[in-house]
């Protein structure tokens, strides 16, 4: 059953007099029990897209067009009251990025967990019992519920944030860069915790990250975003072993791989386009080594194999691209 379905969603921010088009008609859906990895570099719009689902956009941001259907109901049209009452945290919860200040510094972690349960009048179990259960569930000694956030380490704080996301056992969790900024040892712990929770609760999860290794490790399906557009979508296996969009290929050849020292890493020349007035046609054309005149026409989302989709005119030449993409020389700045 499809839980979430986004069609042609476009989002923009109004900064002073200018309009920044952060997301440009993105469509994807999420099946029950799936982990979807949304990967992309800074400024590609992945967090904005995720925030629009729970309508957490800042005051100067708004969804220009498109629908965000959750179990048949369009969240964009919902009033704030209904969102608070029935959707936020009950249906979809959120794991924040920086563990450092995702928790309110002047309340104990126990109080914040209790508050979350109380707002949604949780009554399946006595609230205190559920708080202890949640903390044990993420590997934190319930005795610590009287501690303040600044008395916990980064890793422990992130576990509390995960416990909070589990509080009402929602069908979907959005995790926005859950491991960024954490030490490598704790990153592994948090990823193991997330996968373990997902597997035995069958939860759908949206994982937002810039690190393709993290996505490769735990995601089922992968969405690659660049300059506000969804440029490639497919299963993890398709995206990593058989990428077709040049940007995905370039990204993969830029990531170091342990033990493969001889392979020189690739640098994608230039910089992402300015999204105040985005270029016409393919937004990667100025940086793509394989771009031709045809690329100035906006490429459609072409499907290469079942469900594996890429926004490029030349998806059929992907094998050639993959071959050439590994040679750093192809990526030399042709300006």
């Amino acid at each position: 059953m499809t839980l979430l379905e986004l069609t042609d969603v476009s989002i923009s921010y109004s900064v002073d007099a200018t309009e920044l088009h952060a997301v440009d008609n993105v469509s994807f859906d999420a099946e029950e029990g799936e982990i979807i990895g949304i990967v992309g570099e800074s400024g590609c719009g992945k967090t904005t897209l995720a925030k629009s689902i729970l309508q957490l956009l800042p005051p100067n941001g708004r969804v220009d067009q498109g629908e965000i259907m959750w179990k048949g109901e369009d969240l964009v049209q919902l009033s704030r009251k209904d969102l608070n009452k029935s959707i936020r945290w009950k249906e979809i919860s959120w794991i924040a990025q920086s563990a450092m200040n995702a928790l309110d510094p002047v309340y104990t972690i126990g109080a914040q967990l209790r508050e979350t349960l109380k707002i949604h009048s949780y009554d399946e179990k006595p609230i205190d019992e559920q708080v202890d259960y949640l903390l044990k569930r993420v590997g934190i000694d319930p005795g610590r519920k009287r501690n303040y956030p600044h008395e916990l380490s980064g890793g422990q704080r992130q576990r509390v944030v995960i416990a909070m996301a589990l509080a009402l056992d929602p069908p979907m969790i959005i995790a926005d860069e859950p491991t960024t900024g954490l030490d490598v040892g704790i990153q592994k712990e948090i990823l193991d915790l997330i996968t373990e929770i997902q597997t035995n609760r069958g939860m759908t999860m949206l994982l937002i990250t810039h690190d393709i290794n993290v996505v490769a490790e735990i995601a089922d399906r992968v969405l690659v975003m660049y300059a506000g557009q969804l440029i490639e979508q497919g299963t993890k296996q398709e995206i990593f072993d058989d990428p077709s969009h040049p940007y995905t290929i370039g990204l993969q050849n830029a990531f170091p791989r342990l033990g493969q020292r001889s392979r020189t890493l690739v640098t994608i020349p230039g910089a992402p386009p300015n999204l105040v007035d985005p270029p016409s046609g393919c937004r990667f054309k100025t940086r793509c080594p394989f771009s031709t005149d045809e690329c100035s026409i906006d490429p459609p989302l072409e499907t290469t194999s079942n469900g594996h989709v890429a926004k490029c005119h030349y998806t059929e030449k992907k094998d050639e691209f993959q071959e050439m993409g590994q040679i750093p020389g192809t990526w030399v700045d042709r300006r």
């Binding site: 969102l83 936020r88 959120w94 995702a102 002047v106 309340y107 707002i119 600044h150 944030v161």
Partner: protein, 328 residues
Amino acid sequence: MNQKTVYLLKRVGLTIFSLYAIVTVIFFLFRLVPGDPTTAILNPRMTEETRQIILETYGLTKPLHEQYVIFIGNLLTFNLGVSYMNGQLVSTLLFEKTLNTMALVMFALILAFLLGPLIGAYIAWYRGSKVDSIAIAILLTLRGAPVFWTGMLGIMLFSFTLGWLPPGGLRSAGFIGTQADKFLSLDFLYHLVLPLSVTTAYFLSMPAFVMRNSMIDVLNEEFIELCRARGMSNNRILYLHAARNSLLPVLHYSAVVIGFGFGGSVVIEVVFSWPGLGLLMFDAVMQNDYPVAQASFVMLATIILALNLLADSLSSFVDPRAVVEGVG
């Protein structure tokens, strides 16, 4: 000893040290005045009998360091000498006047620190809107206008033109009543209304602005977004989370407001002829009554330091992180 008590002990130690330093400064100030120190103390108009008391209590003829020891001894035993003006014991004078000042300035400070943050939180939520700009204009004007001038305008309007309120003083002439009655009687409230509202209006804007600014910073924090994601209503976010986090800067800033408050009490009490410490000090300075001037100055400084200490210890309860930041 957990960290919080240690933090408080350090703050108490520092406050006592500051007070000691101020007292020493005052001592030297009064002694090292240009010209012969004794003439500065022995005011010519004085009766012979008060002169003897002063010579004996201060031991002015002794060398400086001995005078200093006597001076500190006197201070600690509340033996503050005798007023030139009316020969009364300074300590009794001081006690009574301090109560009057506290009744006015302390009351105004409490009101300001209750109303101010509420107003600040409200306009922070509606920043950038019309409400915000009007409120800022009013607050700035209240803060900008010299408090004695607003006092004068208040007297002109409410006493002389409308005749509703008395132009000054603590109670009507001929009022008799016990010590407690003094502060609880209707007559006292009748006299208190105008000075209190003027003083509160003057103090109000500082906590209001600090609250507004720190609220705006806090509302941009990550955990506020997580509160919204958890489905909290605006009011719950505003008052339970944003406001609570903004109290620390307000308390930290209180040291400035308290200093201003008691410093300003001089002009406030002069305008409303309110018989408090400020007026006492003013009269003492006018008539070169050094013991009274010296004692009231030290008393004011003590009150300010004590209140700063109170604000500091409060801040460690309001915000658990305050202790971690340590002293200084």
